[in-house]
């Protein structure tokens, strides 16, 4: 395996979500050799997990899978999953060296047919992180049905090494002798497309997430609405009933200095509005209420989409939710200041969705050794020249794409990926020219 891998690339793209994928495709389409890595078991990032996307209500999987497939097949792109980069050094000539570390999957991807017999055989049950803990999965598992690569992986942390999967596998592709692979590559440019993580709502204990079963996050609702959904309908966790009065609490972990997230996450108003519309289809009798501070429906077609939700009967209540309490039957009481009446009000709902904000992924600066990748006050990658070269970072030759630089929605992430590819292509050209002159 290792011998087959190229050691020299034009570009290293860190993060194979939609922004990194777009950057890699654009670079590869004009003849650059790209190494695209992701620390996850699959490419496609967060977007491939979503249901439908605003404001067009396109099926997210239908938009992501063709890109993922194009990436996987592109002759100029090498995709490595379960892989991270570190110890990135910039040489005097402007090029880079990076240490690439691939964690073992314990499955030979090329031989795995995705038959799922190992899954059936595995006796271990753990929370499924790809379904955001709504259901369980096995220790031998395929991440999800449209994962790329669609191959099994062994969760070695939870595996009991019972050998049931090995016995069940018809192609003998399970290999417990795999070890960590480490090697150094050379590249001319690095693109940071490390995406985001979701705000952890247990940091706001008064909303009861983790204590009250029927308080879930928006990503958990997203999974319940997605085509690859776990239950084939929307259920509330405490008793498996279909909810008929759902509340959304916007700005959970956004615009909130008390939890260290002063800025707006830019996507929650719209994804909540989208989920509300999808819920009205999935649960035609349900009432949906959004508790908000300001509705930020700013992008192309967004305000029209917001108006559409209102005309469908989604209720928007202006007011910050202060506290949620749980009743014996699992219903929830929301206490909030109703701005329209100026009064503190309490309302009962049978399910609450926390519209959690987004935060940058951590540890990006530590990837670089002899150059400093600056961050902005909110820990996003700092844009050195945001108006003229939005993808430029504090290190010449390192570019940023997507949510790594600021909260943004899918269309903006794709444009940002396009911009990064354009600037990275020029940097590659510039380095190549310099090498020729020398």
């Amino acid at each position: 395996m290792q011998e087959n891998k190229l050691k020299e690339y034009d570009a290293l793209v860190i993060g194979a979500g939609i922004a990194g994928g777009e950057t890699a495709l654009n670079l590869a389409n004009v003849g650059n050799k790209v190494l695209l890595i992701d620390k996850d078991l699959t490419v496609g990032g967060k977007m491939i997990m979503l249901s439908k996307v605003f404001p067009t209500l396109d099926c997210s999987a239908c938009i992501t899978t063709p890109k993922v497939s194009e990436i996987a097949r592109h002759q100029n792109i090498t995709v490595l999953t379960s892989t991270e980069a570190s110890d990135i050094i910039q040489k005097d000539d402007g090029t880079f060296e990076a240490l690439i570390t691939t964690q073992p999957r314990y499955v030979v991807v090329e031989d795995c047919t995705g038959c799922q017999l190992c899954e059936d055989a595995c006796p271990v049950n753990v929370d499924d992180q790809y379904q955001y803990g709504l259901v369980g999965r096995k220790a031998a598992f395929i991440p999800f049905s449209i994962a790329s690569p669609r191959a099994a992986a062994i969760d070695i942390e939870n595996c009991t090494l019972c050998g049931a999967c090995e016995r069940a596998c018809p192609t003998d592709c399970i290999d417990f002798t795999q070890t960590v692979e480490k090697y150094t590559i050379k590249c001319k440019t690095v693109v940071v497309a490390t995406g985001f993580q979701l705000f952890d709502p247990t940091l706001i204990p008064r909303y009861g997430f983790g204590r009250f079963k029927n308080v879930i996050t928006s990503m958990q609702m997203e999974r319940q609405l997605a085509p690859t959904r776990p239950f084939n309908t929307v259920l509330r966790p405490s008793d498996g009933k279909m909810p008929d009065n759902i509340a959304y609490v916007l700005c959970t972990g956004s615009r909130d200095k008390t939890v260290g997230t002063p800025i707006c996450s830019q996507v929650c108003c719209m994804y909540s509005t989208k989920q509300a519309q999808l819920l009205m289809g999935a649960l035609p009798m349900a009432d949906i209420t959004l508790y908000y501070l300001h509705i930020r429906a700013f992008g192309k077609g967004f305000n029209e989409f917001y108006a559409q939700a209102q005309s469908m009967g989604v209720e928007y209540v202006k007011g910050k939710v202060a506290k949620i309490t749980e009743k014996e039957d699992g219903n929830l009481i929301l206490r909030y200041e109703d701005i329209n009446t100026g009064k503190v009000t309490e309302t009962e709902h049978d399910m609450v969705v926390l519209s959690v904000g987004i935060l940058p992924n951590e540890g990006i600066t530590q990837l670089f050794t002899n150059r400093k990748l600056e961050l902005d006050p909110f820990n996003y990658v700092s844009q050195a020249n945001p108006l003229e070269s939005p993808a430029m970072t504090s290190i010449e030759g390192v570019f940023v794409a997507g949510v790594a630089s600021a909260p943004m929605d899918i269309p903006d992430s794709i444009l940002s990926g396009g911009a990064a590819s354009s600037e990275a292509a020029n940097y590659i050209r510039h380095i190549a020219k310099k090498t020729v002159e020398v």
């Binding site: 004009v30 497939s69 830019q266 700013f298 077609g301 396009g418």
Partner: protein
Amino acid sequence: MKSKIGVYICHCGGNISDYVDVNKVREAVKDIEGVEISVDTMFACADSSQKQISDDISKKQLDGLVVASCSPKLHYPTFSAVAERGGLNKYNYVHANIREQVSWAHSDDKIGATEKAIKIVKAAIVRVKESVSLKPIEVKAQKSIAVLGAGVAGMRAAKELADLGIQVYLIEREHFVGGRISQLDYLCGADETGKELVTHLYEKIHEHTNVTLFTGAEVIKKSGSIGNFKIQVKITPRFIKNECNRDELLKAIEVCPVEVDDDFNFNITKRKAIYRNYDSEYPQKPTIDNKNCTRCGECEKVCSSIDFSQKEEILDLTVGSILAATGFDPYQPKEGEFGWGIGNVVTLPQFRRIINMCDDKLIYKGKEIKDIAYIYCVGSRQVDGDNKYCSRYCCTATLYTSILTHKKYKDIHSFHFNRGIRTYGKQEVIYDEASRLGDIFLQSYEYDPPEVTKLNGKTNVKIEDILTSGSEIDVDADLVVLVTGMEPRNDCSIGDVLKIPKGRDRFYNEIHMKLRPVETVIDGVTIAGACQGPKNIMESMNSALSAAAKSYSIVNKGELSLEPIIAKVDKETCVWCGKCAEACPFDAISMIKENGKDIAEINLSVCKGCGMCLPVCESNSIDMDGFTDLEIESMISVLAGS
């Protein structure tokens, strides 16, 4: 005729199978003569399914492929690529749409939907039987790109393309570069002014040998197609000689007796008929406003650089791709709209010019301004008007403007009559800063906007403020600033020349917001910046660089493969009546003489395969590759049959 056909029917994860009985569809087609295999699949587009299909093609030696799934707009390219990977000519692949045309359209009638899906799949099968293998048409692509509009987006794209080694023609309608951004002083989120940003970009393209800038220039005609567009550029004269004397020109401006409204300052000041907008403007030469110049000759008396003999020129260019970055117009309030026309009511763009012109005291019409009322969403989020969209940039721009006034002048009081502040993302800090400076925020809903009246010489703004439980609050303002949104260019003739489609918001439309965000349905024409929809500078730059990357990928190899789905003429039966040439919207058909006979000839690289020529041909001498009469008639007989 194809006899080993593979048929794949997609569930689309429930999008189709919730309403169409996919198993029944498969059962209905599996025994049709020529169908080798029929399979249903959860997601035909998923990587694993794609691999399965291409493996089937090669292992089972399939000679035809049908995938019944979503709209071909989404996945026709996906599955034709799958066909090719399996070793099948992609024109032996037929796409059947059973999502948009069946499951989504008939979600109320599952039985009917299933029947319709069966017919559509059967029709696809008979069509693929008659399909023929085709080869793509190879054409040379010009390694040059026309960028339309020298605002910041256009200039940035031009610079990037030039750096990548492409010959760029940067075509600007005005006589100066910089577009709307040159009208701004300080920019939110930057240490530079709009003029400095423009200067900086201009210097970069100016030093570049790969960029040719045309000012006062407009594209008036386009023909040809991707890789080889022929465009005609009309260049209006500047009436200033190339080698000119700067001091004399300044004198010429001084002596010009004509005064007209200065549209650079949004008509709050006057300018001469020979003018420049500001000192450091590029190109560094004034121009003569031909519409308003009386040819009195005063300027010529003091300046030797004036040349009234300059004539309009028409230039022909050939380019591989066109990148349109033609910008926006600010909304123009109607008479009486939020007090427009009653004196001390201005628009936000006007107010920015006023701030630019006032140094230590904010003066408008001779009076010092202290109390400012900003009214948001003027021309955006309209309840009655056409502009239903949010203009995106204005909340942040207004708050930033308010902060500027606090920094520049003393004792300013700002009142923001808004509809919910939309300082998305990191722009939240601007909202925070304005709040800390003591700005007052008053909010109303769309249907209950604030009222502006003139009372005892004061301009009064009244609102039912939802932030104080609907209390009626009014403010006497020295100046009312209408926060006007962005609109598509009033003169969008260039869009008509290029035939770029518009969305419901009247801005130019991309093919797909997420899959192909900078491409238009006109192959080879990309769009960038605010001509596509409201954007701030950074967002415009991102789209400009993305469009540059896309246009570059079209021309960089110097050759292109085009779709061979085009019209073809039967030379035997054609008698040249000329009707096809009249019907062709792309000028792809011309008359040639062959064997002493006049016949029609199709220009392969210009024909788009639209089919307009087919029905008008009286001798039925035109057929369409990929959509032959045989294929279409066999489909009709299946669809019309019971």
